[in-house]
């Protein structure tokens, strides 16, 4: 096998995932939250493909493809929501959206 060991890839994926998770937790702009989510999903993709190469099976790659499809649809819905919020002149701040509070 050529190239770096799987562990390196996983390390990169972990850093990406943590960055994304921190972004989701800490940022308040919905746009940035969506971006961070994408980051997390792509970290997962990287890990899947790394494992796929490491084990020599194709399943991880196929799984990564479907994660991309999910990510794309999630972005469509998320961006649609953000556009709708902007149209209604709502503040683009996730902390202001608390109508589900019990």
């Amino acid at each position: 096998m050529r190239g770096p060991d799987v562990v390196w890839y996983l390390g990169v994926a972990a850093v990406m995932f943590s960055t994304g998770a921190l972004g989701v937790l800490l940022r308040r702009s919905p746009l940035i939250v969506l971006l961070s989510l994408e980051l997390m999903l792509n970290a997962a993709n990287l890990a899947l493909i790394a494992f796929s190469r490491g084990h020599g099976g194709g399943a991880g790659q196929i799984f990564a493809l479907s994660v991309m499809a999910v990510a794309a649809s999630e972005v469509v819905v998320g961006l649609g929501l953000i556009v709708a919020m902007a149209r209604r002149k709502l503040a683009l701040d996730v902390d202001k959206l608390t109508s589900l509070r019990g």
Binding site: V24, L25, L26, R28, V94
Partner: protein, 627 residues
């Protein structure tokens, strides 16, 4: 077999009319509904008459036929067919029910004209006739019980017909509850019969009854007597009948005078083989009848509502029938049932004409002097009254006196006691009946009458007058069916079903007739003295009679109040703390728990995300640690 086919037709025509009126709804005109019901009942009468003529063609010993349509009820080894019994007794009752029924339903077309719910009324009336026919035609005791319950139901529906009046609803409920008590004892008697004989077919029961123990026979006949007493409003289950006068007057005439309340007499005669095996119970029936006829006569003396007077008179006359059936003079009891159906329906319908003309007023203290304003009604009412008192040649004379004579024919002390009571009842009948006649029709028109009576209205439409006239004719001539010492058409007809236990000799008949006519005339004279000639002031009514001998108060104290108190106690001690408390505790607990957990729902997306991330981290740590 003509008589069987026509008997089935007779039974189901009124039911068909009920179903048709109920299904057609507003598509059927009000008048058309009335005509349909009347026509169906009249056709029933024709069918019954054909059955009668056809039975006449048979030998007296082969006049009993059972026809089974299909197997109706199967329970274990018991099979009950939907069957009818066509024999002299049931045909006799069919003729009375459908004949008087047709006249009264026809009269209702005029009486109920303009009521809001005429169609419902006629549907109920036709349904009642069906139920009553089922009662008298049922080929086994189960169908008899079914008819028994259905007449109770239709009586309930018709007493409460004006359901916007609270008093009518209360009266209907009272009638239903008291009848249900009788139904229960009746059903218990049937259970006992099933347990001991394994069948409820008349013939089979009668055949195997001889082998039963005295105690069982006494219990069975007591249960049957309980049903009969409740349905026929005899002491001590009579209090519902006067209240039942809340229903429309034709209902009182048909159900609470002519037919349903006489079902008890029919039951005793039909089950006479059982009653004869327990003579003490049969004597009880006679004694109850005798006491009822005196007590009801006394109460009728002080009532002020025209319909209630006639209602107490009905109780009193059914007392005579019970006396006859209890003494074993079955044909006399049933003959009195027949003539009573004529003259009592006549009295009720004539009273209905008066009530109709006086805008619904029923208080006789406000009436007076109607003789000149309503001459035809007066004539008919007088015929009914004379017949009721038993003045010859009207029908009551021929039918009441044989019952009195039967009491003397029995000969023992019990018989003589019944004799005296029956004669006392005859005197009372004269007094209360003619008190009514003199108060309502005699004298000068009262202020209320002059104010209310509308000469243009007249006595009533033709559709109401014709049935009254027909009944007046029957009340006059009906008695001649059977003349003591002459001929005995009714007794001969009924002999195959219920042969009499006692038969009075001609001299006993003559003595009883003379005494009871004398008593009746004496009663009339007293009423004349007080209410027409006014030679004596009307005596103050005894409070005991005004309170109807305190039966209502007694039942209120013995049954209603303890039950109500117990219910209140249970509500306070069991329902409140235990049932209500546990439910409230449960719901309160859930509510408090929910108040705690809802705090977790902050609505902030980032807290949810943090929770997700944190739990994922915990899970990851756990998995790593466990491995």
């Amino acid at each position: 077999m003509t008589e069987i086919t026509t008997a089935w037709i007779c039974l189901f025509l009124p039911l068909a009319a009920t179903v048709a009126i109920a299904l057609a709804g507003n598509a059927l005109g009000r008048r058309a509904a009335g005509l349909l019901a009347t026509g169906a009942v009249a056709c029933s009468f024709v069918a019954a008459a054909v059955s009668f003529v056809s039975l006449l063609g048979h030998n007296p010993s082969s006049r009993s036929h059972v026809s089974t349509a299909w197997s109706w009820l199967t329970a274990g080894s018991l099979h009950f067919g939907l069957s009818i019994l066509v024999d002299p007794l049931s045909v006799f009752m069919m003729l009375v029910v459908s004949g008087v029924g047709a006249l009264i339903v026809g009269y209702s077309i005029g009486y109920m004209h303009g009521d809001d719910e005429e169609r419902r009324y006629f549907a109920y009336m036709a349904f009642f006739v069906f139920s009553m026919l089922l009662l008298v035609q049922g080929g086994n005791l189960v169908l008899l019980l079914a008819g028994w319950g259905l007449v109770g139901l239709s009586s309930y529906l018709l007493i409460g017909f004006w359901h916007e009046r609270p008093s009518a609803v209360a009266a209907a409920k009272k009638a239903f509850v008291m009848n249900a008590f009788g139904d229960a004892t009746f059903a218990l008697a049937l259970f006992l019969l099933i347990a001991k004989t394994g069948t409820l077919d008349y013939q089979a029961v009668f055949t195997s009854a001889g082998g039963l123990s005295t105690a069982v026979l006494a219990l069975v006949s007591l249960g049957l007597l309980g049903g009969a007493v409740a349905k026929s409003a005899q002491l001590p289950l009579h209090t519902w009948l006067p209240d039942a006068m809340e229903g429309p007057t034709p209902v009182s005439a048909l159900i609470h005078a002519a037919t349903m309340v006489t079902a008890g007499v029919y039951l005793i005669v039909r089950m006479s083989p059982i009653f004869e095996l327990s003579p003490h119970v049969q004597d009880t029936a006679a004694a109850l009848g005798a006491f009822t006829l005196v007590a009801a006569g006394l109460i009728a003396l002080v009532q002020t509502d025209i319909k209630r007077v006639i209602a107490y008179s009905t109780m009193s006359q059914i007392g005579y029938m019970f006396l006859g059936a209890g003494l074993g003079a079955y044909a006399s009891g049933l003959f009195h049932l027949l003539t009573h159906a004529f003259f009592k329906a006549l009295l009720f319908l004539a009273a209905g004409l008066v009530i109709h003309a006086l805008a619904g007023e029923q208080d006789i203290r406000k009436m007076g002097g109607l003789r000149r304003l309503m001459p035809k009604t007066y004539a008919c009412f007088l015929v009914g009254s004379l017949s009721l008192v038993g003045i010859p040649p009207f029908s009551g004379f021929f039918s009441k006196d044989p019952i009195v004579a039967a009491a003397s024919a029995r000969g023992d002390a019990f018989g003589w006691m019944m004799y005296v009571l029956a004669l006392a009842g005859a005197g009372l009948t004269g007094a209360y009946t003619f008190r009514l006649v003199f108060r309502v029709f005699g004298g000068e028109p009262s202020g209320f009458v002059r104010e209310t009576f509308d000469a243009r209205h007249g006595e009533g439409p033709l559709v109401m007058l014709v049935p009254v006239a027909a009944l007046a004719l029957l009340a006059t001539a009906g008695g001649w069916l059977q003349v003591p010492g002459g001929w005995s058409a009714v007794s001969d007809w009924l002999r195959p079903v219920a042969a009499p236990l006692v038969e009075a000799t001609t001299s006993q008949e003559a003595l009883a007739s003379a005494l009871s006519v004398a008593a009746g005339v004496a009663g009339v004279a007293v009423a004349w003295w007080i209410y027409s000639a006014r030679r004596a002031p009307a005596p103050e009514p005894w409070p005991e009679l005004e309170h109807k001998l305190y039966f209502d108060e007694l039942y209120d104290a013995v049954f209603y109040r303890p039950a109500a108190t117990a219910a209140r106690l249970l509500l306070a001690l069991v329902e409140g703390p235990l049932v209500g408390g546990s439910i409230e505790g449960l719901s309160g607990g859930v509510r408090r728990l929910a108040a705690l957990t809802r705090r977790l729902q902050t609505g902030l997306v980032r807290t949810y995300a943090l929770a997700l991330a944190a739990s994922l981290a915990v899970l990851a740590v756990v998995f790593i640690a466990v491995r």
